[in-house]
């Protein structure tokens, strides 16, 4: 019998893309909880949560063939597609913030870098890359990406002008991409505000 341990890290989505139904259960074991938690953070109305999760998985089943293991890990691809669906859904929703409808622990920052889950070379590299971001950039990205907060919500929470929040997010994300790119190609990485 096939087990999770016997399945290569990047093989499940490839198999699903090829019509292999037996990979579905393993895929749900691996990513079900992650996607569900991610959707909880991005979905404004609790009654929409299950619809959002189903929509993400529908998108994954039909787009599995687009996954290319030579370009990213399965985890990154899955997260990218899930976030896109959640962001699209949010655009369609009433933008009235209703964060307080979820239990506090779901929306609280609770993101300590010491409590990360290891899942491969990509994530280790990305974690290392965070040191090249300023504290403001890192915190703003955490609020936007992990907690799913809007720019306005971040501005209110940090008492910062909207433009500053936008700049932190843009520069932070672009910097993160640059550092990852440099690390992948072996180029020298220069720290924000100084040499490394």
């Amino acid at each position: 019998m096939e087990t999770e341990a016997s399945s290569e890290k990047s093989d499940l989505l490839v198999r699903i893309g090829q019509g292999d139904q037996s990979a579905v259960r393993l895929f749900l074991d691996r990513y079900g909880g992650w996607i569900y938690g991610l959707a909880k953070r991005y979905t404004r109305r609790p009654e929409d949560l299950e619809d959002a999760v189903q929509e993400i998985f529908l998108h994954l089943w039909t787009n599995a063939h687009r996954f290319n293991p030579s370009l990213s890990s399965e985890m990154t691809f899955v997260t990218m597609l899930a976030r896109r669906r959640l962001i699209d859904r949010r655009r369609r929703e009433d933008r009235t913030p209703v964060l307080d409808q979820f239990p506090a622990d779901v929306c609280a920052p609770a993101v300590e870098l010491s409590t990360v889950l290891e899942h491969g070379e990509e994530v280790s590299r990305a974690r290392e890359a965070l040191q090249f971001l300023s504290m403001d950039q890192r915190e703003t990205l955490q609020m936007a990406i992990f907690q799913g907060m809007t720019h306005e919500e971040i501005a209110r929470k940090t008492n910062s002008p909207l433009g500053t929040v936008k700049t932190h997010l843009r520069r932070g994300l672009i910097r993160l991409r640059e550092v990852l790119d440099e690390a992948a190609t072996g180029r020298r990485v220069i720290a924000e505000g100084g040499a490394s």
């Binding site: 093989d11 090829q18 938690g37 990509e122 990305a126 992990f146 991409r177």
Partner: protein, 267 residues
């Protein structure tokens, strides 16, 4: 690309990656990406996804059992249909590129990039624009079927109901010296040649599956049955599969496979 364009593109892609793009900005982004197709539009989304996964807490949320059952049932209806796309998937792990470009700008999700590299010179030479069914095409197919004893036939269906719901087709092909073939298609949507055209790709057993042969461009001008001659740009030794995609006018040398219209396999 000018520095100003590049900076603006990066800003817009960053805004999109964190979910804050107005309708006007979406249009601006689409216009900039159309002007700079070489730009990897996924790179910042990937960076954001990586960032999200770094922060993944050790304690997973538990998905409710009934939700999981519904998702599994949904998968059981949908995943088997992916089989039609099986042969279009990326090559086996042994053949995968060993050098990973984590966030490389020049690569997109498509698997036919290298194929295009090989065929780029050939595809632009003597590209013929096929026409919808004509009496001569129907006559030629009749003659072909009557005289060619060694032809193969592949029946196809549409893998994506949004693009060509209910479309079916048969491909008749004779390789070897003859290199002649026809597509008999039914239900393939009529296209506006100024906006989109259909392009045939032929997978050859003798070639790496990443390198399908460009089988020519064509238009469908009737909602009924149409017969289209196949015009491969280079000889096909042993056809294993025929795939029709919908592409911009003039066709592409690299298909991103976003719009697969029909898949007909001989396997």
């Amino acid at each position: 690309m000018s520095t100003a364009d590049e900076m603006r593109l990066m800003d817009l892609l960053a805004d999109r990656a964190v979910g804050e793009l107005s309708v006007a900005e979406q249009a601006e982004l689409a216009e900039l990406l159309a002007r700079h197709p070489e730009f990897d539009e996924n790179s910042l989304d990937q960076a954001a996804a990586l960032f999200a996964s770094i922060a993944m807490p050790e304690t997973h949320e538990s998905m409710p059992e009934d939700l999981r059952r519904r998702i599994e049932a949904q998968a059981n209806r949908i995943v088997p249909a992916n089989r039609a796309k099986n042969s279009l998937a990326f090559p086996s792990s042994a053949a995968r590129e060993t050098t990973r470009s984590l966030l490389g700008r020049s690569l997109s999700w498509g698997g036919w990039i290298l194929a295009a590299g090989l065929l780029i010179g050939i595809s632009f030479l003597g590209r013929e624009k096929g026409k919808g069914t004509s009496e001569s095409a129907a006559r030629k197919l009749e003659q072909f079927l009557a005289t060619e004893k060694a032809y193969v036939r592949a029946d196809g269906t549409a893998p994506d109901l949004k693009i060509a719901a209910g479309a079916t087709g048969s491909i008749y092909w004779s390789g070897g010296q003859r290199q002649e073939g026809y597509m008999k298609l039914k239900g393939v949507p009529v296209n506006d040649p100024a906006s989109k055209q259909y392009q045939l790709w032929i997978f050859d057993k003798e070639r790496d599956e990443r390198y399908p042969v460009d089988g020519g461009l064509f238009n469908v001008d009737s909602s009924g049955e149409v017969i289209i001659p196949i015009t491969p740009k280079i000889p096909v030794k042993e056809a294993t599969m025929f795939v029709i995609t919908r592409e911009p006018p003039g066709g592409v040398v690299v298909s991103d496979r976003k719009e697969i219209v029909l898949v007909a396999s001989l396997k």
